[in-house]
Symmetry: C2
Subunit: 235 residues, 2 copies
């Protein structure tokens, strides 16, 4: 049975790193004493070690040890043996390039589908979708492909942002960009606002958190779903 | 001698397509009777034919005919014989994938470096830079590489947007994203606000238009340059 949390953001405005997710983490990782942290998205260019230390500090109150995936001499074996996983945000292109080139995307997917708990934030949530093709990040490196784990049968757009009213700016809105994705793909997209997260428990997928989410299906007008709603219909 | 215009946007708020650029086009394409339009960025999924018709309407007041690059049976020969070029905006990943996979990026670069006038807007300006890696677009398709024409020795970020004041949103700002680019590359980046464009005349590169541009160099604090300034120092 799958146990997955895909969150829009790690940090709410004015709060500490992962503060709002502490109750969610407590439930998701109940009984777990150690997890593997995937640090490859490197927000702001932070080092793998620094990023792992930041994650470790946020898991310390739960008495959960955190080890960086970059520290294992045999990371595939480490993934196979891990009790659970957390992938932090940052640049999705960096994250996907590292996971694909190191041959770690498929083992991670297999471990999570076998029931090991997984939490992702932002870029770490993007890779839970079918592809990373609805990321907001700049393509600062060239991954060999854009396919991700497909833990849910749709894509995510984390940090979903509504158009800013009265802004005389002609660059594409987030909604316009997601519509452009749908000129090439039929995969549904969940625009996940900050403070929202998706919970996968076995075959059930639910939207949780405070804000509504904006759903984009190819050929349909976008619409809102309320927290607590099932997303099982999206595929 | 190179004759190039790289504009932030095709359209200013409340104005018609290419309206504010008409005087610039008149100068750049003086003596030209026909240009090739590169329609591959397909904003909003518009067809190549529809997009070419839109460009043709904007060049009609200048008595310049417009032919879509997609209509030629031998596009490499067509590029070699063309009097000038315009590449429209849209999705940079789509644009670069088509140009690279059809083998047209290098011929286009060669023709422009040989002195044929080139204008780009938005995605069409991105490909004038060293790489497309500071685009704002979503990776809706996977190009075989991110290298572009390098008509100027820096990258562009079109539709550059300052942080919105008081927005309690934790997604990365444009500036943060460009700084992440600089964790991987040393190429300078010009944040080109709407209403600004870059003119290349031989070896001289100048910022033109109304707004200042924000310059990002690796390892330096970002700074502003005024319209009319030379950008020859950036490399």
């Amino acid at each position: 049975m799958k146990h997955i949390v895909l969150a829009s953001t790690s940090t709410l405005y004015g709060e500490a790193y992962l503060a709002y997710l502490q109750p969610v983490m407590k439930t998701l990782f109940a009984g777990v004493t150690e997890i593997i942290f995937v640090p490859f998205a490197r927000p702001g260019g932070i080092s793998h070690d620094e990023y792992t230390a930041k994650a470790a500090a946020a898991f310390a109150p739960l008495q959960i040890q955190v080890k960086g995936l970059h520290t294992f001499s045999d990371p595939v074996a480490a993934i196979g043996a891990a009790q659970g996983f957390f992938t932090g945000g940052g640049n999705t292109f960096l994250l996907v390039k590292e996971l694909l080139e190191r041959g770690l995307m498929a083992p991670l997917k297999a471990a999570v589908e076998a029931g090991r708990p997984y939490m992702g934030c932002s870029a770490g949530s993007n890779i839970g979708g079918v592809s990373m093709q609805t990321t907001n990040d700049m393509p600062i490196v060239h991954p060999p492909g854009f396919e991700t784990m497909g833990l849910v049968p749709f894509n995510l757009n984390p940090h979903y942002l509504d158009p800013i009213p009265d802004l005389p700016h002609m660059g594409e809105t987030r909604e316009t960009r997601i519509r452009e994705f749908h000129t090439q793909h039929a995969t549904p997209v969940v625009g996940l606002r900050e403070g929202g997260w998706i919970v996968v428990a076995g075959d059930n997928i639910t939207l949780e958190g405070t804000p509504t989410a904006r759903i984009f299906e190819a050929g349909k007008a976008p619409y809102e779903v309320d927290p607590g709603s099932s997303l099982n219909f999206l595929r």
